[in-house]
Symmetry: C2
Subunit: 321 residues, 2 copies
């Protein structure tokens, strides 16, 4: 379909960062390590393991450096860390993160609420971080991704101008990011809007500079939006195990798309994720045990895999049984 | 996107049939009437209001004839009734249904469980019903739709051969149906499989003979599948208010796609449904009051509409604010 048969899709797990920063419970460091290890063992190749924010703001992330150092010992895993500012980038790099990601909210109101900074102030940080990154020896130089958050609308400002998103994506590249992602922080995106904005941003910054999309399932459109992104040739999709997560500064915007349901969709379609679905589903037990008070989402875990799944009959290029 | 900008989509509400037949509670006739009237008033143009099955099998449908007669008094509403056999068709026609739909399960095991009939026996009924329909004067002749159910897999048999689905769609047309729909009774479908099967069936029976698709959200892929169908040019989508419904003979296969989330997606994309989203969301109160014991699904009702929604900034062809 739409020329995406059999493509390789990178599912980037963001639960340990986006999920854990958005809930009251604080997951013990050992549980975070077990979660990260288990998902990597299930075949997940990239995990955003933490955010380097002051512990007084997000106590859930107080062990960020330790979690990064541990995750970096897992062979083949790309370890991503969110950095809200220069200090966070210094700490993430010191801990050895393979990639750092900085959010720039298309909504300046949300930017001030989230990072306490204007667009200009965030872009100043991006330039300083890019200098620091470039100053490092190649073997210690992390990838540097900028993310335009609230790119599809803001719970504080409402609609966000697409021109503004394109402008900020270009500004992030000009300030020194390697690539730029688009985040539906608030769960406002729809498939038509997503396809349109992906095209507009690529026209501006170059097709291969769009790193991926970060989607939420706030209004149930998460997987439809993921499909739309795939059809536009986007092959990196963020998701969160159990659908944990959201944005603490965007009320109501809870719930990343669910990794389990996303991987089921991709796998059933015959796309390649490298993830073992049964092993992935088993990782939920770690979350349930460590976060007994938190609600977990996802339909596939409750319904189970279809009868005879994997025996053929599903997905592109698979012969019907 | 994909040439579907601004198209008119018919959302066919199936909750009063598929929803109510699948739950233990029996909705009072007056509540059914209030529900149907309220959704029609919100702009829903087609509603599958009941199934003409013996009350001893489905007491939830004991008032089928009365519900059809009432629904037919609502101006502009297309009143659909499910008929499992010839007797049911006679009763539906006597009550004045505008359209009758008969399910033929691609899985013969499911067919025997659901209708106690083999494929051949069901097709015999279809021929008899088609004769009856043709014998009626034009002003009293209902549309006659065949539905290939468990078309994407069966909870009893597992994978279903696509050739079998195509063969049965052709058999339904040959037996006298006006059009044929495809039903993911079990919530097994994925977007690639759905697109492929839509193409295969249309190649066999003719592009304009595929009446629509009936999707479930069992594994969370419901709206992604709906998007895939739209991109194939399918413009009639079944859904159920509050996601009520499923198949009592297919364990675990609960939950039609949620009308509220589907209409939000279509509306946000700039597609035309004729449905007032706020009025549609308000109809949930009728279900909550009449079915206090039943779980209702849907993300949009909990999250609410995006801030500034409708003021522009969303959807194809809408200028960003």
């Amino acid at each position: 379909m739409s020329g995406i048969e059999g493509i390789d899709v990178l599912v980037s797990e963001v639960g340990p960062r986006d999920g854990l920063q958005s809930i009251k419970s604080i997951m013990p460091t050992e549980a975070k390590k077990a979660w990260i290890a288990a998902e990597a063992a299930a075949g997940v190749r990239e995990i955003e393991v933490c955010s380097f924010v002051p512990a007084k703001l997000l106590p859930q992330m107080a062990d960020a450096a330790e979690v990064v150092r541990y995750a970096c010992t897992i062979p083949g895993l790309t370890v991503l860390a969110l950095v809200p500012n220069f200090k966070g980038a210094e700490n993430a790099i010191a801990a050895g993160a393979h990639k750092i990601a900085l959010p720039l909210s298309a909504s300046e109101t949300h930017s001030r609420a989230n990072l306490r900074k204007s667009h200009a102030e965030v872009l100043d940080d991006v330039r300083k971080i890019a200098e620091l990154v470039r100053s490092l020896p190649a073997d210690r130089r992390p990838g540097f991704e900028g993310n335009v958050s609230t790119a599809f609308g803001c719970t504080l400002e409402g609609p966000v101008a697409e021109d503004k998103v394109v402008e900020l994506a270009a500004a992030l590249m000009a300030a020194g990011c390697d690539e730029v992602g688009l985040s539906d922080t608030t769960g406002y995106a729809n498939p038509a809007q997503l396809k349109r904005l992906i095209r507009l941003v690529r026209q501006e910054i170059g097709h291969d500079r769009l790193s991926g999309v970060h989607l939420h399932n706030t209004r149930g459109l998460g997987l439809a939006n993921a499909l739309a992104a795939l059809e536009e040739g986007v092959t990196t999709l963020d998701s969160s195990l159990g659908g944990l997560g959201g944005c603490p500064y965007a009320p109501g915007a809870s719930g990343n798309i669910v990794t389990e349901d996303l991987v089921f969709m991709l796998d059933a379609m015959g796309l390649k994720t490298g993830i073992d679905l049964d092993r992935l589903l088993a990782v939920r037990e770690i979350l349930k045990a460590a976060l007994p008070a938190e609600e977990m989402y996802g339909f596939t875990p409750d319904a189970g895999l279809p009868k005879g799944y994997g025996a053929g009959g599903w997905g592109v290029g698979r012969a019907a049984a």
